[in-house]
Symmetry: C2
Subunit: 369 residues, 2 copies
């Protein structure tokens, strides 16, 4: 039996009970709206997690890289939306997946790429990407470009998609529900414009964790694509996606030094182990580079945080001071992430626990591109 | 023949000529001071790069993880300083390297760990870590703790080490030279205190890229441990470590979309491809998440930067606007890093070029712990 005490630190710990609870909560929230849940695997990047997230669901997943698409295909997933704009040089990789029987759906917001997709001999299909206000990828819904891209896809067109990533900036659950309605309405309007060209607009894909959780209703949408809900993180807990004890993924680390002069601990979890993500710097509460918990994932007195992260050193402090005697060198602590998508990407596997110290499984992640 | 046009994006490109030039520049700077150059491989994490960095040198290297130590040992390196404080649970891995004939040197600033090192049957050896003002790891040089750790090591003591990482905050080369002198003097004083206990203080290890480059003289020190100089980055160029055209590692990416409404490009290099490091936010010039160059690594009109980095989307803008017609979707661009140690860690290999477009080699990196 391997326990948390046997693992080399730093490493990634996944709490199975919390994962299941988060998955159930999202399944209930999405079931209310009647659309399909197409979980976004960009956070977990794990076939085992994908199986849990798709149980009792239609089975389709979303990915953010072709490496993920290939990994999940190799693990039996057959309905995959690659939700990042593709470039012509990647079409052959996409086609190879279709040749293996994968229903791989692409997205684009570019007429030249749309033409290349339509012209590819593999019979590729794609969604037209619409911008509902995040101003990342996608076109304005009333733009001429939207129609140009649709026309260029022609028979390769399968519908539309949008992503309200700016839901992360909403100031209340009501604002999120309003934004979910705007996301839905934008996608539905885009689908109407595409349909008016005589093209297939069957898929109307929306979603982010906040808008999937808080949408009042999603008429006209067909699916939603939340991802980070599976694990939760310190940023999500501050925008009403979950509670701190829903956070399912943490870094297990060791105290490597103590600084009585500064009242600080040093952990072997620094900028590489935690990522340099500072998303909570814009949240109501700033957790530095992560919240420090005990080895069991429970809060510590004074709620210490990693205030500074050099490459392999995390410097821990607490506003009211730390009782360093509690933390001899070698003490194992866990660090909850600001942004779990970034932190988890620093590791090639999860050490899975189920409420205790025993490591009940080890699950691979697929990183890279 | 593979060229940059054949590679899947995003990926990591290493310019061999620039690497060699950076290595030569540091070798000359360190030769002036008469100490040994023990290059820190935490940035490059590559045996091939280590061979270049140690050519014409004593051959010893520095590492930041045991995974690096094991990787370099497997590639024939026999003189390795693991320069991050160790914990007792990792001593057996260190001992396994010594059993394979590796002269692995440890560091600690903790008396309990020092006792465990001394008590280990493998005959481990360690340096006492001193704080010269960075306030990360290490003890104050005049502290009683310094002597306690030395005494606890006893015959396992091999000398002292310190790291003036706060050199990154110096406002001029003169300040850096002054700090290099303080770093040296602190280490030498610590070695004297250790020697006064009758312990071995033969190794007096100092260094960071700025203090190694700019030290006026290093009497009493025996070695210096710079690392990032091999590759350089946008932060280093702003603290006089090198010029922008010394930056040897960039991310090759593709334009995946264009936003005429905002005058922006979207790249397939986002927060995972570039890391979320924002170190230039505190520098004289803020490059966002990286400076965008053409496929050959040359500057572009208006010097666009990645102003925003979502997981797989990099949003590119230029202060004076971008001529989007220059950048059709699929255009290949390179992104120079804010902090190359963080960015390179997102990849498992380098695609090596030597001034042209041809990929002349592919070199593995060792990530993780």
């Amino acid at each position: 039996m391997t326990t948390l005490s046997d693992l080399q630190t730093p490493c990634l710990v996944l709490d199975l009970g919390r994962l299941r609870r988060n998955v159930d909560a999202m399944a209930r929230a999405v079931a209310r709206t009647g659309v399909a849940l197409r979980p976004h695997m960009k956070t977990a990047k794990s076939a085992e997690v994908a199986r849990i997230a798709t149980s009792s669901q239609a089975g389709g997943i979303t990915v953010s890289t072709l490496a993920e698409a290939e990994h999940f295909a190799a693990h039996g997933f057959r309905d995959i939306l690659y939700a990042v704009g593709i470039v012509p040089a990647k079409l052959d990789r996409a086609a190879a997946l279709r040749a293996r029987g994968v229903e791989l759906m692409l997205v684009t917001d570019d007429a030249d790429v749309a033409e290349a997709i339509a012209a590819h001999p593999a019979g590729l299909r794609a969604l037209v990407e619409v911008d509902c206000g995040e101003h990342r990828a996608g076109m304005p819904v009333e733009s001429d470009r939207l129609l140009e891209v649709g026309r260029a896809l022609g028979r390769a067109c399968a519908g539309v998609m949008t992503h309200a990533g700016h839901s992360y900036g909403c100031a209340s659950v009501d604002e999120m529900a309003d934004l979910a309605e705007h996301e839905r309405a934008t996608a539905v309007r885009a689908a109407q414009r595409i349909a008016a060209l005589g093209l297939d607009s069957g898929i109307v894909s929306v979603g982010s964790t906040p808008t999937a959780l808080h949408a009042r209703a999603l008429p006209g949408a067909t699916e939603t694509r939340p991802g980070v809900y599976m694990f939760q993180d310190l940023f999500q807990t501050q925008i009403w996606s979950g509670a701190r004890d829903d956070i399912a993924v943490t870094v297990l680390s060791s105290v490597t030094g103590r600084r009585p002069e500064q009242g600080q601990l040093i952990l072997d979890a620094g900028g590489l182990a935690l990522s340099k993500d500072r998303s909570t710097s814009s949240a109501r509460r700033d957790y530095g580079f992560g919240l420090v918990l005990d080895m069991h994932g429970e809060p510590l007195p004074g709620e210490p945080v990693v205030e500074r992260a050099n490459q392999e050193h995390g410097v821990v402090s607490a506003r009211a001071g730390l009782d360093l005697a509690r933390y001899p060198v070698g003490t194992r602590l866990r660090v909850a992430p600001n942004h779990v998508c970034m932190m988890a990407a620093m590791y090639d596997r999860y050490h899975v626990v189920d409420g205790g110290e025993e490591v009940v499984a080890t699950w691979d992640r697929v990183n890279g591109w």
